[in-house]
């Protein structure tokens, strides 16, 4: 039996005559050996190389296996220390990974949490534990199985029998399957409820219920905080004190509902200024504050103040009414928080007061001078309180002359305050103060009674004129007050004249006219004081027939020199004549003024020319003014 290859080699080495070509044969055999050797070498080389390569790969595998083991232990530690339960399922819904917290939430034993556990079996185990039961369990299992194949993430909150609430988030994985995280949110939900409750409570404590702005408490806190921050950051803080002009009249004339509408709308506009550096709040009534942090320059503040005044002046719709109001603003600045919040508030208030007294619809920055004046005013207010009990007030009487006869026809009672330390305090300083503090009522009542009591003692029939403040009209029953004074003194009502100013009509004019009519019925006459200086609407002249119009001193001063003043005076005199009303000019100091007025047809006059206000009236024999004098 010869090897096939050898047979072939022998066959290929035959010569034509059939004999063996030994050289050719050797060549073929040699080639075959060479082939074999080359094959062996090649095989050896590749086997060596493969084993080297495999060894290298093996080493890499070992390294990565140990790295993986280490990473796995980190991963394990990480997921076991998570506060959430975690479960990872493959696309066949078999568990790949879960953590201790997961078992804990559902009361499962760690040994039950085997890799490869089917989702349905796991849900079964949870059901067995009585974590949920009955229909709920079936529904829950069905819903979980549904979510397991859903390709969108989803969230559910499941309440367990033990009261625990578990938030479950299903996150599908790219490789199929899903991851679910399970968080015990029982406490979170409870504290959310608590926070909501607290937030509601905080709203009540800090929010002005009518306007939604920060209320008095909150804005005060904001101011304190702003000043403190200013101190820390060396930044300036400004406070705007805003008051609506004539707001009380809106409430009185249109009702509180309209007043509320105005407050709500103005608050909305004011809140438009709020930003990270500006906080708006309502102090109460029609008073508002704006706290401004990080003030860069006063021009900006001035701009804000202008805008506030402008926004207040835009019409406000309140039901059927369109209301136009204005606002006054007082501004105080605390440099680097050096002024405390209470000083700042006081200063802004003073500036506001000044702005209002300068005609309202205006803004003013606080100046130290204002502070001195305010202090003075506070001091006066304090003294004023005890002035009546301490009998510090007295009345001076200034005569009023009839131009035709030259006779004294009456006296105007003028109140004077003689303070033991301050001396004689001018009326301009304390009347307004008394009006502001409300003491004017008590004072007015005292003036009325004192004047009546004195007038009754006069030998002649001169009238006595008593000034009544608009505040008195508002707060007191004037008719009753007058009746009492007349009753007490026994003065003939025809000898009493009440001087009122136009501003009394800002209130409900029909009420005022009722009072006038009552007084008129009593026989008391009514003079309109300071005529020509106020808003001089002639409408109330048609509603009520005044007994006397009194031309203000300011027109008399320049009469004969100032064309306009002269014209106004002539007009008033003409008006009086047409209304058949006595016209009296006050502040007459020169004969020239006297003559001019007399020629113009003015009925009566009052002034230094005829006599200064004196504590006692003149003797009878001197009670006549002669043109020749």
């Amino acid at each position: 039996m010869t090897h096939k290859l050898l047979q072939r080699q022998l066959g290929k080495s035959r010569k034509a005559d059939g004999s063996l070509d030994f050289d050719r044969f050797c060549e073929l055999v040699d080639e075959a050996y060479e082939d074999l050797y080359r094959d062996q070498t090649r095989t050896k080389h590749s086997v060596t190389f493969v084993s080297e390569e495999l060894e290298k790969l093996n080493a890499e595998l070992r390294d990565s296996a140990s790295e993986l083991k280490e990473k796995n232990s980190w991963f394990r530690a990480a997921i076991d220390n998570m506060s959430q339960g975690i479960c990872l399922f493959d696309s066949n819904q078999q568990m790949l990974v879960s953590n201790d917290q997961f078992a804990l939430i559902y009361g499962l034993k760690p040994e039950q949490m085997k890799v490869g556990l089917a989702l349905e079996d796991l849900l079964g185990l949870r059901a067995e534990n009585g974590i949920y039961h009955g229909e709920a369990s079936k529904q829950y299992i069905a819903s979980c199985l549904g979510r397991a194949t859903d390709t969108n993430p989803s969230r559910m909150v499941h309440k367990l029998n033990n009261g625990q609430e578990v938030e479950i988030i299903f996150q599908p994985l790219i490789s199929g399957g899903f991851m679910s995280t399970h968080s015990d949110i029982t406490e979170k939900l409870a504290s959310e409820k608590k926070i909501k409750k607290m937030a509601r409570y905080e709203d009540l404590v800090y929010v002005d219920t009518l306007t939604g702005l920060s209320n008095r408490v909150k804005i005060q806190e904001e101011l304190d905080r702003a000043v403190e921050l200013g101190r820390q950051n060396q930044s300036d803080v400004a406070l705007f004190f805003i008051d609506l002009d004539g707001f009380k009249e809106i409430n009185d004339t249109l009702g509180h509902q309209s007043g509320d509408s105005v407050l709500i709308e103005f608050s909305r506009r004011l809140n438009g200024f709020a930003n990270q550096d500006i906080v708006a709040g309502r102090l109460g009534g029609d008073e508002f504050l704006l706290v401004v942090h990080n003030v860069s320059n006063l021009a900006n503040l001035e701009e804000i103040a202008k805008l506030i005044c402008h926004s207040a002046s835009e019409e406000i719709r309140a039901g059927q009414n369109t209301i136009t109001i204005s606002a006054s603003v007082g501004i105080a600045v605390s440099r680097a928080g050096k002024k405390g919040s209470s000083t700042l508030l006081q200063n802004a208030d003073i500036a506001l007061y000044r702005a209002k007294s300068e005609g309202a619809n205006n803004y003013l920055f606080f100046e130290e001078q204002m502070d001195a004046e305010a202090k003075e005013s506070r001091r006066l207010a304090k003294c004023l309180k005890s002035a009546i009990p301490k009998d510090q007030f007295l009345l001076h009487y200034q005569p009023q002359i009839d131009f035709k006869s030259g006779n004294i026809v009456g006296y105007e009672a003028l109140v004077r305050w003689e303070h033991p330390l301050l001396g004689l305090v001018p009326p301009i300083k304390f009347i307004e103060l008394a009006e502001k503090t409300g003491q004017i009522c008590e004072l007015g009542e005292w003036v009325l009674r004192t004047a009546c009591n004195y007038a009754v003692t006069w030998p002649g029939h001169e009238t006595v004129s008593v000034n009544i403040s608009p505040i008195q009209f508002k707060q007191q029953n004037i008719a009753e007050l007058v009746a009492n004074a007349l009753d007490e003194s026994g003065l003939d009502p025809r000898r009493l004249e009440l001087e009122i100013t136009e501003s009394v009509f800002i209130q409900n004019s029909s009420d005022v006219i009722n009072v006038f009519e009552n007084l008129c019925e009593m026989g008391v006459s009514i003079a309109l004081d300071d005529f020509g200086t106020g808003f001089s609407s002639l409408s109330y002249l048609s509603q009520f027939r005044f007994d006397k119009l009194k031309i203000d001193k300011s027109f008399i001063d320049d009469i004969g020199f100032d064309q306009e003043d002269t014209a106004i005076v002539s007009m008033i005199i003409g008006l009086g004549r047409s209304l058949n009303t006595v016209v009296i000019a006050e502040g007459i100091e020169t004969l020239q003024q006297h003559n001019l007025l007399s020629i113009s047809g003015c009925s009566q006059g009052q002034g230094y020319l005829y006599g200064k206000p004196e504590p006692r009236i003149l003797d009878l024999e001197h009670s006549q003014f002669h043109k020749s004098a």
Partner: protein, 374 residues
């Protein structure tokens, strides 16, 4: 069906046409060397009416030998089967699919039983050619064939149609009729070895990287001293590639060329990105066992074949050298000594299983057995 096979070895300068059948319908030839042009002229002169096609090769196979003959040709006369030839230009590997489709369109007919296709061995992407022709033809047509060879030189392959011999050409003959029986088998016998590697960079039939490393570096390391013989020595280590998502999708790929600059290898078929590749090697014994299996597959249905066309990969011949004849012998033994003709190719085309689509194979012994019902 009558078959006559003529050869011309190095000692002779004439083809012995007396071995041919009279007035053949089809002559298929394979050859190389200086004699080629003369041999083709001789055939055309002998059988001017016949469809004549063939190609250059890496060695011829005739009957039970694979001696280094210059030329071998089979003349076939069918009793009822009709033949029709087709040809098409194949400019480059990118035009392979279109060429396959064109051939398919030229030959398509309801009774087309078999197509034997031969294409340029260096310009063709065999996978695309197979996919192109399969797309045009129905499942009842068996497409077999191979890519022309150029010994172990990989420089220039020619494909013949009539008396024309050209590069960049694909030719085919369609065999029509219900009397033709076709069976086939295709096996390699190679075994995978070493680590599996991921195809990380490739484009069509060009492979750049395995596991992120340049593939040429890897081949050079494995080949050692044999690296000097690249690209042909790369045939010693063919690649098995498999789509990791499709079990059973294993195919074997051999190298046609290398690009030293780009450190890439050019294969006879596609190397898809993301597939898994593994080196293969073989002993003589394994390869002969592969050929045995292929023959048994081809003979499974019928034992009365009349002609066997053997297309074996050049890589097998490189490994087996003198023993290459053994695989031809074992096939002949199994097929009862019926006439055999064939060549060593740069790629084999054949369905993987009966009724399947034609695919490119590499490193296989691919056998097609033809017969006509009497």
């Amino acid at each position: 069906m009558e078959v006559g096979i003529a050869t011309c070895d190095t000692s002779r300068q004439e083809l012995d046409t007396s071995k041919f059948v009279h007035d053949p319908d089809l002559v298929i030839y394979f050859g190389n060397g200086d004699f080629l042009t003369h041999g083709v002229a001789q055939i055309n002169k002998f059988a001017p009416e016949a469809v004549v096609l063939g190609c250059t090769s890496g060695g011829q196979i005739q009957n039970d030998t694979s001696i280094e003959s210059q030329f071998s040709a089979a003349s076939i006369k069918f009793s009822s089967t009709r033949v029709k030839a087709a040809k098409c230009e194949i400019r480059d590997s990118q035009s392979s699919k279109a060429a396959g489709q064109e051939i398919g369109r030229q030959l398509a007919s309801e009774d087309l039983a078999c197509v034997i296709i031969i294409s340029d061995g260096l310009a063709t992407n065999g996978s695309e050619l197979a996919s192109g022709i399969s797309a045009e033809l129905g499942p009842n047509t068996v497409v077999v064939g191979g890519l022309a060879g150029d010994g172990d030189r990989f420089e220039k392959t020619l494909v013949g149609f009539g008396d024309d011999l050209q590069t960049n050409m694909v030719v085919a003959v369609g065999l029509y009729g219900k009397d033709l029986n076709v069976s086939h088998g295709s096996r390699g016998g190679w075994q995978t070895f070493g680590p599996k590697r991921l195809v990380t960079r490739s484009q069509d039939n060009i492979l750049y990287e395995l596991d992120g490393h340049p593939v040429l570096d890897l081949y050079e390391k494995y080949l050692g001293d044999d690296a000097a013989g690249l690209p042909s020595t790369a045939l010693l280590f063919p690649l098995q590639i498999v789509d990791p998502d499709v079990p059973g999708s294993e195919v074997v790929r051999t190298i046609l060329n290398i690009d030293r600059e780009k450190k890439s290898l050019i294969f006879a078929g596609n190397i898809p990105h993301g597939w898994v590749a593994q080196f293969m090697n073989a002993s003589h014994h394994n390869l002969i066992e592969g050929a045995t299996m292929a023959a048994k597959d081809a003979a499974k249905e019928r034992s009365d074949g009349e002609l066997a066309i053997l297309i074996s990969c050049i890589g097998r011949k490189l490994v087996m050298n003198q023993r290459a004849e053994e695989e031809v012998e074992v096939v002949s033994d199994i097929l009862n000594g019926i006439p055999q003709i064939g060549f060593y190719s740069y790629g084999e085309l054949c369905p993987s299983e009966k009724g399947g689509k034609t695919r490119l194979h590499n490193q296989t012994m691919t056998i097609t057995v033809l017969s006509e019902k009497v």
